[in-house]
């Protein structure tokens, strides 16, 4: 059988450049190198501080007063051009360790802060990666890149439950940061050949069927790359709604036979060898580099792929892989499926079908005839009228701040400083241990609905009685107990503190709440909430500016109106 030809060869998309944006005429935009500085020819279109703050809630780990001022002057387009060109802060300084820890690098209960225990913590747990995640989120210049990479890390999930080597997780996250504004086709290939993903979803060492042993190829990666990373289980319209058959039922995107086809296709790959080491089937676990193929462990028969595409017999592992990834990449579901999830992570849990279709159209064609340009997709998401003119949107047009964003928004909005040690533990207490989802299905499913409503609210899946108290108690620690002390076992530890000094100069309770409203939540606090909080502040001694600032910060940041960004 012959493979059905595909119109677009998607490989090598990583070299695509981002296109410079214009506000109204995306389709006629001219190209500019991704590294270019904001062009002097762009119109100077500033925005109000309130609109800048809202944009920063969607595009960063939370507005800071300085960034609000800067972005208000810069305007949306210049800000996006600048952010899309900012290189990754990233995770650095992690080094390879063998999968099995040597005895002098294992946790020692008798000496929990001794050399062996610290070696285990720093190399065989995600402690340092999670800590750096918060350091980067609080201070990195590449805010938008980090936000998009964090979203991607929750779509193309690998988890510390199995990937506990810090260098492996750092490598995977650096890859997502690098690819965040590249082409989705390249991202899909990088994820597929990542030995970290190979280990997590078992494409590494997946062998062809063996009749003597009675074994079949492993179906794990085959299923999840389709179900979670690219197309989902049901056919979608370009606006993200379900295609329905004559019985009003969803139409599956694939059958079990297709899973068997992809499972066979993803055979014959193993970990890359360590430098200087010999290589063979199978190599020991190594998370640096990309997986390599061994043709004699690759299933050579035909494989049924999507939409009737069949991989012909006798192809090399690389040829098969290219065909498979091209086929997935060109499936019409990818734009609405991935685009909608990125909208949900950045802007709103319930985008309108029109919003999804506009973003999916940009995924299909960035205006230059290129499919899968993620920089163009991100720009489309943040430039869309539904993200911008909805600046006075109701809460149902926003989303719950997930724990990581709740934490960083409070820290950045209130002059926080942190080495990330305390913050990483708190994210865990709130149900989101960074890069450590329980399964490949992430911390929360994108389709989660509030009980008793049709409203989609993914982040609410991890919002329960235990975790909401953890959120409030986190604020109590930061505001009333001075945060967290320095950790002597962490190099250059700063501890975790807020700086509420600017709030103490606000003056009246009314002015104080206004200032918090502007700094933390783009003035979206309702009048009744404003009144409730100012009344409580009135019960405090009017000379106690610090006490009032603390109470105001606690009440605003613990309010449902702040928790639900809108």
């Amino acid at each position: 059988m012959l493979a059905i030809g595909l119109a677009i060869a998607g490989g090598g998309g990583g070299s695509l450049v981002s296109i410079a944006p214009t506000v109204l005429t995306m389709g006629t935009a001219t190209t500019a190198p991704a590294s270019s500085a904001p062009s002097a020819s762009l119109p100077m279109t500033g925005m109000t501080a309130t609109d800048a703050a809202r944009l920063l809630e969607q595009a960063t780990f939370g507005p800071t007063p300085a960034e609000v001022t800067r972005v208000a002057e810069l305007g949306l387009d210049r800000y996006l051009v600048q952010q899309l060109a900012t290189p990754a802060t990233g995770y650095w300084g992690f080094t390879y360790v063998p999968h099995t820890a040597p005895i002098d690098c294992k946790y020692d209960a008798a000496n929990p802060s001794g050399t062996a225990s610290m070696c285990a913590r720093d190399n065989y747990s995600l402690f340092q990666v999670q800590r750096e995640f918060f350091e980067n989120a609080l201070t990195g210049a590449d805010q938008l890149r980090q936000r998009v990479a964090f979203a991607l890390s929750q779509i193309m999930v690998v988890s510390g439950v199995e990937i506990y080597e810090a260098y492996g997780m750092a490598a995977y996250q650096n890859m997502l940061l690098r690819d965040a504004f590249g082409n989705y086709r390249q991202l899909l290939e990088d994820v597929t050949l990542s030995p970290v993903m190979g280990h997590y979803l078992d494409m590494a060492n997946n062998d062809k069927s063996n009749s003597a042993r009675g074994t079949s190829p492993n179906e794990n990666y085959a299923r999840e790359v389709l179900q979670l990373f690219s197309i989902g289980v049901s056919q979608l319209n370009p606006d993200g709604t379900l295609v329905l058959d004559s019985q009003n039922q969803p139409v599956p995107t694939y059958t079990q036979d297709v899973i068997l086809g992809f499972a066979s296709l993803f055979t014959g790959w193993t970990y890359p060898p360590r430098p200087g080491a010999s290589s063979g089937w199978t190599n020991p676990i190594n998370f640096e580099g990309a997986m390599i193929a061994f043709p004699n462990h690759h299933e050579t028969g035909t494989k049924l792929l999507l939409n009737g595409v069949v991989a012909p017999t006798g192809q090399t592992p690389e040829q098969d892989l290219k065909l498979a990834l091209d086929t997935v990449f060109n499936h019409p579901n990818v734009g609405p499926f991935v685009g909608k999830q990125l909208i949900q992570h950045l802007v709103t849990s319930n985008p309108s079908p029109g919003y999804v279709s506009r973003v999916a159209a940009v995924f299909a064609d960035n205006g230059q005839g290129v499919r899968g340009d993620l920089a163009a997709v991100v720009r489309a998401i943040l430039s869309d009228a539904e993200a911008r003119t909805g600046a006075r949107a109701s809460a149902d047009e926003g989303h719950l701040r997930e724990p990581a964003l709740f934490i960083t928004s409070v820290m950045r909005g209130l002059g926080g400083k942190s080495d990330g040690v305390y913050l990483r533990s708190q994210a865990g207490a709130m149900g989101q241990p960074i890069f450590t989802a329980p399964t490949v299905f992430n911390f929360y499913p994108p389709s989660y609905q509030l009980p008793g409503a049709s409203t989609v609210a993914p982040e609410f899946y991890i919002d329960d009685a235990a975790t909401v108290l953890a959120r409030a108690n986190f604020l109590n620690t930061l505001i009333y107990r001075g945060g967290a002390a320095r950790d002597p076992t962490v190099t250059s530890s700063t501890g975790t503190t807020l700086d509420l000094t600017p709030l103490t100069a606000a003056g009246s309770p009314d002015a104080l709440v206004n200032q918090l409203d502007a700094q933390l939540m783009h003035r979206s606090l309702s009048n009744s909430a404003h009144t409730t909080i100012t009344r409580a502040l009135g019960a405090l001694d009017s000379d106690d500016a610090v006490g009032r600032a603390k109470a105001a910060a606690y009440l605003v940041a613990s309010s449902a109106q702040f928790q639900v960004e809108h």
Partner: protein
């Protein structure tokens, strides 16, 4: 679309006010003492390989098993024989589930039953029907999240926004109207299983404090707490804000009641869990503490959700199963002993759910892939144990019960029947079972009699 009003708030807040009168509290305690029942769902996330949970040990059965399972075959001598009332044993239990001091002991004592080849179905299904076009069968078979949802909803016809545990609590709500906490409690977070039309579970933590911290009796502290509470009741009318407020409102009400119970280190049930460090055991200990306090909490019919993860054994299944079954066996046995210790064994039944079983034929990485019909464990003093229920599938790859050529068993008992049996025991009368299990009429018999 606006959210339905949930009983948990009326129950949690209104109830505690109404019960301020001691006489009523005493009456509730008496009612609970004479009539209390609880179901404890143990959700095995990832899809437990039931083919290595219950294994044929007779000569022919084991030989066939070992030939197909290859590297995944458990040693015949290691299996724990499940001796039936007839005195013979055709099947053995995975050794890590525990011998005579573990789950094998519960079986021997007649307090553990096995329900065979249960799975998601729209209607009874033969292989010929499965292979025929246009047969009604579950959507998205072999997909984790879809099959989890179908098990939790006991509905495979179409997506459901409620679970059968939740609908069960809805159905029995009148027995719980005087309770000071929600009838459903989860140690596994939000979950479709414990989502009803009008009732929703409370999630409790398994370690640390379950309390709002940082408020004192100063004028400022009182004013701030009062404002925090006021903020939870204003600006109603949008789903996301309402939900954020409601979760906190429920947390404040329930934590005030439950924190002293959960943090009580002197609780007599704690001793049964000595030496058990798994998260699963901690969840069951928290459940045991709540059940121990049942008289003061005033809830007569409870549904608990506990979870154990990492059953998605695509690689290295033998080692993973050893660890997970070690936790499952020891935790469940400790919980059962704790219930016996506080005189509640007859009133509490535990049962497993899981995404699916796994392929009988192994894959290339010492693991197995997503399957379908699965065997499940039910334990408790009221369980009619030391017995099997349902029909054993033909363990043959490509055979009459295999949907394809990898050994994914077409279920011979529906989740609906399994759930109906448990719902019936908890107190739903036969005529009302359809309220809890809307597709039950498609299967016969409606209940299986294992409890």
């Amino acid at each position: 679309m606006h959210r339905r009003h949930f009983l948990r708030h009326a129950g949690a807040l209104g109830g505690s006010v109404a019960l301020a009168q001691l006489g009523m509290l005493a009456a509730r305690a008496q009612a609970v003492a004479s009539d209390y029942k609880a179901l404890v769902c143990l959700f095995l996330y990832g899809g437990n390989d039931a083919n290595n949970t219950i294994v044929p040990i007779d000569s022919a059965g084991y030989t066939s098993y070992a030939a197909t399972r290859g590297r995944l075959a458990l040693a015949q001598g290691a299996l724990l024989p499940l001796v039936e009332k007839s005195g013979t044993a055709a099947f053995g239990l995975h050794p890590a589930l525990g011998g005579t001091t573990g789950l094998q002991g519960l079986w021997d004592a007649g307090q553990l039953a096995i329900v065979r080849n249960v799975g998601t179905l729209v209607q009874p299904l033969t292989k010929a029907q499965y292979l025929a076009p246009n047969t009604a069968k579950p959507a998205s078979l072999f997909s984790h999240i879809d099959q989890q949802h179908q098990w939790q909803a006991s509905l495979s016809v179409s997506p459901s926004d409620t679970g059968w545990g939740g609908r069960l609590a809805d159905q029995l709500a009148s027995l719980n109207s005087g309770g000071s906490i929600p009838a459903m409690i989860s140690t596994a977070g939000n979950n479709l299983f414990v989502t009803g039309r009008a009732t929703q579970a409370l999630t409790i933590p398994t370690s640390g404090s379950f309390a709002l911290q940082g408020f004192d009796n100063s004028a400022g502290g009182i004013a701030r707490l009062s404002a925090l509470r006021s903020l939870l009741g204003i600006d109603r009318g949008t789903d996301l804000l309402d939900a954020a407020q409601d979760v906190m409102t429920g947390a404040l009400a329930s934590s005030a009641v439950l924190n002293p119970i959960l943090t009580n280190t002197a609780s007599p049930v704690s001793g049964y869990f000595t030496g058990l460090t798994s998260d699963f055991a901690k969840q069951l200990l928290a459940v045991a503490k709540v059940i121990e306090a049942r008289a003061s909490l005033g809830v007569q019919r409870q549904v608990f959700l506990v979870s154990l993860g990492s059953f998605d054994t695509h690689v290295d299944e033998l080692n993973t199963h050893d660890t997970l079954f070690g936790d499952l066996g020891a935790g469940l046995k400790a919980f059962h002993d704790a219930m016996t210790g506080i005189g509640a064994a007859q009133q509490v039944a535990s049962f497993t759910l899981s995404d699916f079983s796994r392929t009988y034929k192994p894959n290339s990485n010492g693991g197995s892939d997503h399957g379908w019909g699965s065997h499940h464990i039910v334990a408790g003093g009221a369980v009619k144990g030391r017995a099997y229920y349902g029909t054993w599938p033909t363990l043959a790859v490509g055979g009459p019960d295999d949907e394809g050529a990898e050994g994914r068993w077409i279920p011979t008992t529906a989740v609906d029947q399994y759930a109906a049996t448990l719902a019936s025991w908890l107190g739903v009368n036969a005529g009302a079972l359809a309220n809890v299990l809307p597709n039950l009429a498609s299967f016969s018999p409606a209940t299986l009699g294992f409890v």
